[in-house]
Symmetry: C2
Subunit: 216 residues, 2 copies
DNA sequence: CGGACCATGTGTGCATTTTCACAAGCGCGA
DNA sequence: TCGCGCTTGTGAAAATGCACACATGGTCCG
């Protein structure tokens, strides 16, 4: 994952800020569930283990959403963040690798919920092709990747193959025209210019915890 | 996720360094698969999209593992990293939340592989209790959390419940004596002193990609 | 045995990120 | 309408992380 794009007035926004915006969105959802309509950055920080100055600074990159002396309107701020993150339009994605993780992500709410739509799950193993997933999709042949991306107007590729296949799949995705890829295979892949590959290795997180346990 | 423990000679090790050690471990595995026994930091960086100086600096916190003029012995370095991360002893974990993600993680290789062992999967929904998982475990009652942690010598708790249950489950885990928790629920939880809660929100990563697509 | 070569380990400076601290601004009540 | 209290938005400072560049110390060949 490399550096980022620019803000409305040419200021680059850091990846860390963007990631936190997602977190803030989750917080807004939770607050609405709890019936809270207005909140200050301090109360938000206390409740969700965040830093109030950082919240204000992150938001300030995109506008002035708060009211001094009062705080933020939860419903309103939620909508702003949705727009900033581009979550107000449908995003179609395909998953390559129909193993445990791939099939689970098919109907994981964070993936198929909101405006994200899983429009295909592919695998290169002939014995898996045609298998139904709990989400109602059939596993399709990974060889048809390019065709599927074009026909179904896919924007995002998700890799849930073993490590050994990840590099080659990511290249095929780039070739098919995908500009952003989420890689769950436990390996770093090299990406072409103009293609963003974000690697999320679930095992890494467990190993960090193991380190913590080991070093008191 | 807060600051970290200390190194052998009292230097704090950053979370980022620890996370990268896990990445290096994956790289070593891949190199061994490819039959490569020796590698320089530069070659490692080129191959896996890393920075050579950073690799050297990360490793140097823990010792001198390389040979000048030659590079690192892959097999040897792998073993060092395993020891540093504490992956040379068994780590037992339980998963609370027997939904899609929870059951998938049960037999996800990054979790049940290596020295990590899933010794229980719990849920509070009576209709799920007793369900078999593909990994051969039966879903147990989340009310038995404390008992199970003690009896089975669990060290790590994994939360895969909906957001609304995460705070309460993490508190019960802390009460049961767990010191580290991996939280997949899409919400930040407050943690007691001495308890490390690491939140991994899969949706956040997708939303980062959405931001990227939106802002060219 | 000696020197050329090469990659490590690290001191140092730069860049980014976080935190602090406060002026500016809004609402509310008198 | 005016003043008080509260919270935002934001410079500036502190902390953290990153990358360069080179001295150090090995290997290997002649």
């Amino acid at each position: 994952m490399t550096a980022y794009k620019r803000h409305i007035d040419n200021t680059a926004i850091s990846d860390l800020t963007v990631a936190r915006l997602s977190v803030y969105l989750r917080c807004m959802d939770r607050l609405l569930e709890l019936g809270i309509e207005t909140i200050s950055s301090q109360a938000l920080a206390d409740r969700f283990n965040l830093n109030s100055a950082q919240i204000r600074k992150d938001l300030a990159y995109f506008g002035e959403f708060g009211v001094r002396g009062v705080g933020y309107n939860v419903r309103e701020l939620r909508q702003y963040v949705v727009e900033i993150l581009g979550l107000d339009r449908e995003r179609r994605l395909i998953i390559v690798g129909a193993g445990n993780l791939g099939t689970a992500l098919c109907h994981y709410s964070g993936f198929s919920g909101g405006n994200f739509l899983v429009v295909g799950i592919l695998d290169s193993d002939p014995s898996r092709i045609g298998d139904p997933t709990p989400a109602g999709l059939l596993v399709e042949d990974a060889a048809r990747l390019g065709e599927i991306v074009t026909q179904r107007q896919v924007e995002i590729g998700v890799i849930t193959t073993p490590a050994s296949a990840a590099q080659s799949i990511s290249e095929k995705m780039a070739e098919a025209g995908l500009k952003v890829i989420l890689n769950f295979a436990p390996i770093r892949v090299r990406a072409d210019e103009g293609v963003l590959v974000k690697t999320v290795d679930l095992g890494v997180h467990l190993e960090e915890l193991s380190f913590h346990l080991t070093h008191v």
